[in-house]
Symmetry: C2
């Protein structure tokens, strides 16, 4: 095997990111390789939610909108996310869900392109993005088409019918990463606007929205940002688009003076115009606290370690489990920080793994998916996870009826 | 004075709702008359959020989507809200914010009325409802008009141009209550569909959506339902409208099989088709727990006690503070469970009250607003609150510079 147990222990001993693991409240007996689906609890979030619950809500009551700064949390959280995704200050806010935010920016983008009717996306993009685009197209009823083409044909599909190119940087199934800079430039050359979904990017590796000249972006708070189950999402609007956009879901907290309760809507002259209703403060507080961990994280170092974890994991499996087909690109710049493996009985294999304390997830119809999240996953963890997976495959330990019963959420 | 201190203490001694106060975790030294803006922390929510945070997220991690039932929380919460608003089982789910849910049902309703262009609402409705309707009208760009008329002229304004009547049952400023049954019947007679916003109704008094034959309703989780700051909202679709509505914000969790990750959207054949993205679980858990309090609450008794609290509060002030103008209707069926008083210097008066431990709120430009929430507010509380307010008025204790500095959230 390319990496021995001693090899990986030695890597952990000199790992500059090792110190971050202590920021997390990880359960005993679990190797958690599903932080790309739900990031784990941080000690900061645990403290903070308890404080928000008991002191701010319990004792402060309504006063906490001012005294605990609840009203400014979306902007505060946005300001913490901005440097992680290459966004200028004041261009990101935390609000609603990724799906809802996508609807907002897509509606704004289409309104800027009245002569064009195509929303171009990758075939195999995360379904909700395609559903949302379809829902908006149906609502507008002006002949918009959601055109889905394979990644390799995206550039050539960018013609003068394309209003908006809507892409997820890292594919949720196979972990392949699109070239944000090149595709954005090509889209702009074709006169299209570009929206990036950073669900599997933000917090996983350096993203440079400003450098790529992206127009809009959305992303998820509960994956690599560790904001907790269903944490608020975020939205980015490039400074080249005037602040104070009138997005269609304009609610009172996007108004320039919400507490004037004015009869007419006037958008805030800032990214806060993307807000709609009252944010879920307990969930927002967890995200705000979880982001403290990122204050002195070097995302380039995170990606470098994730790449090494990838090499350890895949090299062990390549040797011992040739039947597991690696779907994720081996070229570092062509992938995010997950590993996807194909196997016909992927579902029971994953259940067998989880029963042994290695948590990844399954994606239809035959994919084993593992998130490599270097802030709390050690080299020895992925070495052991690969070893356990290999033993399951070698012994066919997955081939038991109880592992084939599908849960509601897979 | 009509009620002496002994009178109200005697009322508390025999109050059948008194036992519910123990379900709440109220701070010392505060009389909380702002539960119509943010309900207080319940002991159940405190326990539950801590468990969701530490056991479900912290130790269960991604597994809790199944093992802790996170995926079914919106339906479970909806099932608890349904009996409070006269809704049949399976017609309510908890999701997103009131504003976002209003957008969904308004879009569905307008699509059912292709020949009509007017969205009729009350002048002085909560601004975000009007903003959302305007945002949808602008997006559709088909000549829809949001027509705002005074409450007394709503019925006569229901002509054959009206596609949808969109009303908030209880006005947030003055606490006046519209006649849901009569207005719904008149709207239907005119061929319009009806959406009710129950923000200041749900949990405050008995609501009978089914009896009134309402088409759609939305409402708020963080006011009378005590779900916590920014708690998820709810949405109701009457059984007469086929389940599986394709609302425009259709995201993956509204799909009939979300984890198939199918390329095409197929709405769930249930109220869950109103879902969009991933719900904020910490906030949802708080709402779910808070609703346990309502399991054996008689909302008719709640309204009856609120009416008595109203009488105690307003009779004291009518005697001692004639300059405070009562804006809320004195007829019991014509109001919800808040009291609104007008005074030119309402803002500093409210600050002086809060400084003395009586928490209500201020609404532009000159309104003192108090929520009467019988599950945790005693007769003696409103008696003392009225006495403190009267003393402030009598001594002009509000007339100090520090009470005139406006906070960000008022």
């Amino acid at each position: 095997m390319p990496f021995s147990e001693n090899d990986v222990l030695a890597l952990d001993a000199v790992d500059p990111l090792a110190r971050f693991r202590d920021a997390f409240d990880l359960p005993e007996g679990v190797i958690y390789l599903d932080g790309n689906s739900l990031g784990p609890l941080t000690k900061a979030a645990k403290r903070r939610v308890t404080e928000t619950l008991e002191a701010e809500w319990g004792r402060g009551l309504i006063r906490s909108w001012n005294t605990a700064g609840w009203i400014d949390l979306p902007a505060k959280v946005g300001a913490k996310i901005a440097p992680l995704i290459g966004a200028a200050p004041g261009t990101v806010t935390a609000v609603d869900s990724t799906s809802i935010n996508l609807f907002k920016v897509l509606a704004v983008a289409l309104a800027k392109q009245p002569e064009r009717r195509v929303i171009l996306t990758e075939a195999g993009n995360f379904p909700t993005d395609v559903y949302i685009a379809g829902g908006l197209a149906d609502l507008l009823d002006r002949g918009h088409e959601v055109r889905q083409v394979p990644a390799a044909r995206l550039a050539e599909a960018m013609d003068d019918s394309v209003a908006v190119v809507m892409l997820t940087e890292v594919n949720y199934r196979i972990g392949a990463r699109l070239d944000m800079r090149t595709l954005t430039a090509k889209a702009h050359a074709a006169g299209a606007l570009v929206i990036w979904d950073l669900a599997h990017s933000a917090g996983a590796f350096p993203v440079d929205l400003a450098g790529a000249c992206a127009d809009f972006a959305v992303g998820c708070g509960y994956k690599y940002l560790n904001g907790g189950p269903g944490a608020p999402a975020f939205v980015y609007v490039a400074p080249k688009h005037p602040p104070g956009l009138k997005q269609p879901l304009h609610g009172w907290l996007g108004h320039q003076a919400p507490f004037d309760f004015a009869a007419g809507y006037q958008p805030a002259d800032s990214i806060e115009a993307m807000r709609t209703g009252t944010p879920p403060i307990l969930s927002m507080a967890a995200l705000d606290a979880a982001l403290e961990v990122f204050a002195d994280v070097d995302l380039a170092a995170v990606k470098a370690k994730a790449d090494r974890l990838f090499d350890i994991f895949t090299s062990i499996l390549a040797t011992r489990c040739p039947k597991l087909e690696l779907l994720t690109p081996t070229e570092q710049n062509a992938r995010g920080t997950q590993v996807s493996l194909r196997f016909p009985d992927a579902y029971p294999v994953m259940q067998a793994l989880i029963a042994r304390g290695v948590i990844g997830d399954f994606r239809q119809p035959d994919i084993l998916r593992f998130g490599l999240t270097p802030l709390y996953v050690r080299h020895i963890d992925v070495w052991r996870a690969a070893d356990i997976l290999a033993r399951i495959m070698e012994s066919r330990a997955w081939d038991r009826p109880e592992f084939k019963v599908r849960a509601k959420v897979v």
